[in-house]
């Protein structure tokens, strides 16, 4: 019998906030209450001054394996996830080979189990090879445990194919997740289209390229009765479209990344490739609209779009360097630092990092659960007020492409518990 006691913390879960210790026995929560006694041989995690919450769930992680193991592996990405307080991540399908068949999906799942640091849930691509031409076998993949389908990295351009995807998926209890970008409008684009790109001489990435596809997929969901999740929304216009779709009662959910609630296109002034990301960093007005969307629930979840890239690929000119930045280890610190001013409480932020994404990913039987006896012990313990800065050398991710060096962050993960076993103790991964 393995026992774990988490003492001195404030428990936050869908039921609210209260002072409580948590006792875990054999992977499940056994007792929640004040002043629980530590028994002999029981492992104790100090949560004084900390929040004890259900583990975080990332809807949007690029683990790069198989295919780009020089940038990240499922093991290093899982370790980064654990350090960031995540007990579950959805692995994006733009691997090589693509996660478009059971064998690849099963490989990713098993590598996640082997790493043992995080519950890795592979997504599947909507189209074979993410080429936008033929649908993947949704039912077969769903039977293998895939819940989220997306061609992330690019959007499904063909409106007919997307309509068919919605129609075919209706009875399968899966979620189609769209990377909203009309590719024809962003050919060669490097940064947000606006005043900054005009003066920096960089090809612009117009907001309308995102909003047209947000609009299209909302209308396809309306037409087909389908269910759509909109990935990494970045523009004020997108937030407003989703707000209206939700008011119309459509089955639409959405996510936003930590970087789209904290960074703007002005940062490209020094031409650093660390700030190149898809969708691009937008204006302060967009940042504020996305924050407001999270605050009023229009946007359901914070998702990292953790996108590791090896240093040499980011040491190319801006137009050649791949888009993307790390996210897992800074997600909490960026979110708390960015959202307090938008009127979100710590509970609201935890909801957007934990039980709301857990429901979208269909992992809410294991993650984002209430902290109560009998529940699985997937937990995150973090200090919600600690100010800190990123030191790239200490990142668990195999890549170091974080834009947050020198930027003050608020809130640091201390311990992470996966199925009753600590994966991180005192900010240090256990394996």
């Amino acid at each position: 019998m393995s026992e774990l006691l988490i003492t001195g913390g404030t428990v936050i879960d869908p039921a609210g906030e209260r002072r409580a210790d948590v006792r875990v026995v054999d992977g499940a929560i056994a007792e929640v209450g004040t002043d629980l006694e530590a028994g002999d041989g029981m492992q104790v995690l100090d949560a004084t001054g900390c929040v004890v919450s259900p583990g975080f769930v990332d809807l949007h992680t690029h683990l790069r394996e198989p295919g780009r193991e020089e940038a990240e592996t499922i093991e290093t990405g899982s370790r980064a996830a654990a350090k960031g307080g995540f007990t579950c991540v959805v692995a994006m399908p733009n691997t090589d080979p693509t996660q478009d068949c059971v064998s690849v999906v099963e490989f990713v799942r098993r590598q996640g189990v082997a790493a043992g640091l995080c519950d890795v849930r592979p997504s599947g691509s909507i189209t074979v090879g993410r080429e936008g031409a033929r649908l993947t076998p949704f039912a077969e993949l769903a039977a293998a445990g895939v819940r989220i389908f997306t061609d992330d990295g690019s959007g499904v351009q063909d409106p007919l194919l997307m309509r068919r995807a919605f129609e075919y998926a209706v009875d399968l209890d899966i979620v189609l997740a769209q990377h909203c970008e009309v590719a024809r409008l962003t050919e060669g684009a490097v940064m947000h289209e606006g005043r900054c790109c005009s003066s920096f001489g960089l090809p612009g990435w117009p907001s309308i390229a995102e909003e047209l596809m947000v609009h299209r997929d909302i209308e396809l969901a309306r037409l087909t009765g389908g269910r759509v999740h909109l990935l990494h929304l970045s523009t004020a216009g997108s937030v407003e479209l989703v707000r209206r779709a939700k008011a119309d009662g459509l089955s639409v959910t959405a996510e936003a990344t930590p970087h789209h609630i904290s960074l703007t296109d002005e940062l490209l002034a020094g031409y650093s490739t660390l700030y190149k990301v898809n969708p691009p960093l937008r204006t302060m007005a967009d940042v504020e609209a996305v924050r407001a969307g999270l605050a009023d629930g229009t946007i359901d979840a914070i998702a990292t779009d953790h996108a590791p890239h090896a240093a040499e690929t980011k040491e190319q000119p801006l137009d050649q360097a791949p888009p993307g930045m790390l996210g897992l280890e800074t997600a909490l610190g960026v979110s708390l630092a960015s959202l307090e001013g938008a009127g979100m409480t710590v509970v609201d932020v935890v909801a957007a990092l934990s039980w709301k994404p857990a429901a979208i990913a269909g992992v809410d039987d294991r993650h984002g659960r209430p902290i109560a006896p009998g529940e699985p012990a997937n937990l995150t313990i973090f200090d919600p007020t600690e100010a800190w800065e990123v030191v790239p050398a200490t990142l668990a991710s195999k890549s170091k492409n974080t834009p947050y060096v020198g930027i003050p962050l608020t809130g640091k993960v201390k311990h992470t518990v996966l199925d009753g076993t600590p994966t991180v103790i005192d900010e240090t991964p256990t394996a």
Binding site: V190, E193, G194, R195, C197, S198, S199, F200, G201, L202, P203, G204, P206, G270, Y271, S272, T273, E312, T313, E315, Q316, P317, L318, D319, Q320
Partner: protein, 312 residues
């Protein structure tokens, strides 16, 4: 000045200093032996990741007239080894001992990235759509000499015509002309303008005929043929009709108006007349002046304590 990468980064004081210095360099260039030992022992490396004729030759000539050693490194965009990062390329060349890199790159911002990886001075010889600051300097130098305006361009009216959006020359010229006090008008359809022009120190019109008789300088930009596939203008004939310097428009020019072009020119497109028949054309002077301003830039960056006396 540590680098010379954009007009804005250099600032008005440096721009004026460089223009004054270019006067001295022009004097050197008029000597029977146009060569001074000012940069003897210094090494200037021209790193051109994009094709160029006049800018590369102009920089090389400028460096040689100051007695610097020059190295040339040309990479056609098609032969760039995708395995070698820009950083590795620069660090390799820097290891050979280089005092200044003259960089031409098709990607905007490359000189800023390169500046992080070398202690040498970085001179921007054109980056993507972004900046071509020595072109702007030579344009200012040409205008100031033609009009005898060493103190600035207050009240001078300059029209820049054509593809502003994709033009590093236009971005740098707008900055420099406005910095020196000129009133700048852009003449272009919206497809050839930057997506957002609010905040730029310019007036914008599509009516060339309304402004051509009013301006002191007509600055024509190259209409890049390769852009014709992008639906930016319906066809070249329509472009010339609306935005080209046609014989009819030449008759509207004021007598003193200068005609300028950064080259290479598309005859029959933006310039639908023989430029040698235009009394106001200073297009060849621009090329000549390019050497003097580039000498000024290299001397300013590398020539501390040196002098401009003859070698003898």
């Amino acid at each position: 000045m540590r680098h010379f990468r954009s007009i804005g980064e250099a600032g008005p004081e440096a721009v004026r200093r460089l223009l004054d210095l270019a006067d001295h360099m022009a004097e050197v260039n008029r000597r029977p032996n146009p060569k001074v030992p000012a940069l003897r022992g210094r090494t200037v490396c021209n790193v051109f990741f994009e094709d160029s004729t006049r800018t590369r030759l102009s920089f090389e000539t400028a460096a040689k007239r100051l007695s610097a050693d020059t190295m040339n490194f040309a990479v056609s965009s098609s032969s760039v080894n995708k395995g070698e990062s820009l950083r590795d390329t620069i660090e390799t060349i820097a290891a050979m001992g280089v005092d200044a890199f003259v960089i031409r790159h098709k990607s905007s911002g490359a000189p800023w990235q390169i500046g992080q990886w070398t202690n040498a001075a970085v001179v921007n010889a054109g980056d993507g759509w972004h900046a071509h600051p020595t072109q702007a300097l030579l344009d200012c130098f040409t205008i100031r000499n033609a009009f005898g305006r060493p103190d600035g361009f207050d009240g001078l009216k300059i029209a820049i015509i054509g593809d502003i959006k994709h033009s590093r020359v236009a971005r740098s010229d707008i900055e420099a002309f406005a910095m020196l006090g000129a009133d700048v008008t852009l003449v272009a359809p919206k497809t050839l303008l930057p997506p957002v022009t609010d905040g730029m120190p310019v007036t914008i019109t599509t009516d060339l005929d309304a402004v051509i008789g009013e301006v002191d300088v007509v600055y024509l930009l190259r209409m890049q043929m390769e852009r014709m596939t992008e639906a930016l203008v319906p066809n070249l004939y329509e472009y010339t009709t609306r935005f080209g310097l046609t014989p009819e428009r030449v008759t509207k020019l004021a007598e003193h108006t200068l005609i300028m072009h950064p080259g290479p020119m598309n005859r029959g497109v933006e310039v639908a007349v023989d430029p040698s028949e235009l009394p106001g054309s200073v297009i060849t002077q621009q090329v000549t002046n390019g050497i003097a301003v580039r000498m000024a830039v290299l001397f300013d960056l590398l020539g501390s304590g040196a002098n401009l006396e003859d070698e003898s």
